[in-house]
Amino acid sequence: MANFEPILSKYFNTPESWTLKQYRSRGGHYGYATAKKAITEFEPKALVEEVKKSNLRGRGGAGFPAGVKWSFLPENGKPRYLAVNADESEPGTFKDREIMAKDPHNLLESIICACWAIQSHHAYVFIRGEFTREAKRLQAAIDECYAEGILGKDVLGLGKNFELDVTVITGAGAYICGEETGLLSAAEGRRAYPKIKPPFPAVEGYFRYPTIINNVETIQCVMHIIAHGADWFRGIGPESGPGPKLFCVSGHVQKPGLYEVALGTTLREIIDMAGGPIGNIKGVIPGGSSMPIMTPDQLDTPADFDSIRAAGSFLGSAGMIVFNDETCIVNALLNLARFYHHESCGQCTPCREGLGWLEKLCHRIEFGHGKEGDVDLMDEVSVMIKGRTICFLADSLIMPVQSYIAKFREEFEYHITQKRCMTDTEAGKFKAIEDMAVTA
């Protein structure tokens, strides 16, 4: 896998990679040549079929096949919209940010291709409010496209009667905007409350019009699929969920950062690319903070949708967080419980109240006030919450709670009985990297 040639991140380190001038100078299928090819050589339906055939699965977390999602659009003559989910807020994930900052034109070209396929005339890119630089870069790229006639009344001047506008919407600090219906609510000028499904957004989405919501990285794959063909894409990684993938490696590794590999590369290989662990690995979260934790004996699991799932976790958004053995697992869970409790939108009682209870339980265990039976109580509360809410946010804490308890129960019990941490860290603190007993 060491020979993998980056596809999505190929130009991330090129100077001025975000300008139209640089984008055009790349030649080949770049410079809006692929968008031209898509519009002139493909009927929209054929394009949907091509993406379906490529088996491109969503990069945002759920891993749903993009082409299949596109084919859910009803033929009712209503306007359709594409909403690009750039509200990247899952702890451990920072890939979409890089795409927008370093290669916005590649994203826009893919948006044109996707909009042609689903026959949408307006795409909205919802970027989290904190990403000011990314929003500016993308907006500058959009402005360049309007000035050059790439976007607007007649896309690329091809005379195909295809009009397309792209609008950036910036959020204002709410994790829940990353949930697809929460995102739509926010983009409709409301509180980012997720909506009950069905109806699914493809049928009734943005202002109740049919809407396709795709993650930035999912969309960015589209132009490469069109340029090289679905078969080429399927040839990268496992058939059940192929393609290049940006892995975000953080936590206790020597060189945290973004690494692009083919799906199916093992967790161990990816950690090695990131310079290897600092100390000995205790656990790895493979797909963003809401996914169940995996243990060192599972490091040879190929990082693809189905293999990770078979190993009891999910690939999610591919935000890999590595813990070494000097990490207090109770404190880690407390940190996440605080995060998810804070980010609950407050619509559903089990989530609004229950996540708070879990945070309190974690807090008292971590700080040496835990009572006998607290671990079982946490498990019990989790069972009461799971699956009883409109969206997936509550479950995003339940998965770590249940998996950390299942795999590290003795640490929780030790905190309760001994009133201190097995790893000898101060309550509520993580050991600083420079203080770690690293034997490298």
Binding site: Y81, E130, T167, A172, G189, F207, Y209, C248, I433
Partner: protein, 174 residues
């Protein structure tokens, strides 16, 4: 209602720009989050009076606009300091020492989470994941620039520059 109504009136061209913006959405309300940002940039913060004007420009009920503002965590309020320093404190940053960054700042500025210095210059906040996990620990100033891969020395330099109203540009991420 605020006593500072006189200073928070949006320029007529801003009102027009917001009304024009609503045309880019299937329904005018879609422009709200973007419009609030525009208003925030001009006035410096969001308060009920700003909300009323934005509501008028879009054609929404002011109470609905205020309801939206209060839901999100990063709109500036008139009680915030000149520089809001957001220190990411979620797990990936915490594993790499964000607590030290925060404690150092709190000690240096003499304030706790959510407080503002008496001179109104700095507000210190713990932020939830800023999406900079690969370059942790990180902080953001005023919903604007990120400062990543922080050391305590960098933190000192950033605060010193901001204290002198200088942009700590040498620590920007390219």
């Amino acid at each position: 209602m605020t006593t500072e109504t006189a200073n928070t009136t949006l320029k007529p061209e801003t009102m027009q720009a917001i009304t024009a913006l609503t045309k880019r959405f299937p329904q005018p309300d879609g422009a709200l989050l973007t419009a609030l940002r525009i208003a925030e940039r001009e006035v410096g913060f969001i308060n009920p009076h700003v909300c009323e004007q934005v509501a008028e420009a879009i054609g929404m009920a002011p109470a609905k606009v205020w309801g939206v503002v209060s839901f999100y965590s990063t709109f500036r309020r008139d009680t915030d300091g000149k520089y809001i320093v957001y220190v990411c404190s979620t797990l990936p940053c915490a594993l790499r020492g964000s607590e030290r960054v925060f404690d150092h700042l709190a000690g240096k500025l003499g304030i706790k989470n959510g407080q503002t210095t008496p001179d109104g210059k700095f507000t210190l906040r713990k932020a939830e994941c800023l999406g900079s996990c690969g370059t942790a620990p990180c902080l953001q100033v005023n919903q604007d620039e990120y400062y990543e891969g922080l050391s305590l020395q960098m933190v000192d330099e950033i605060i010193e520059d901001l204290g002198n109203d200088k942009c700590p540009a040498r620590h920007h991420t390219v």
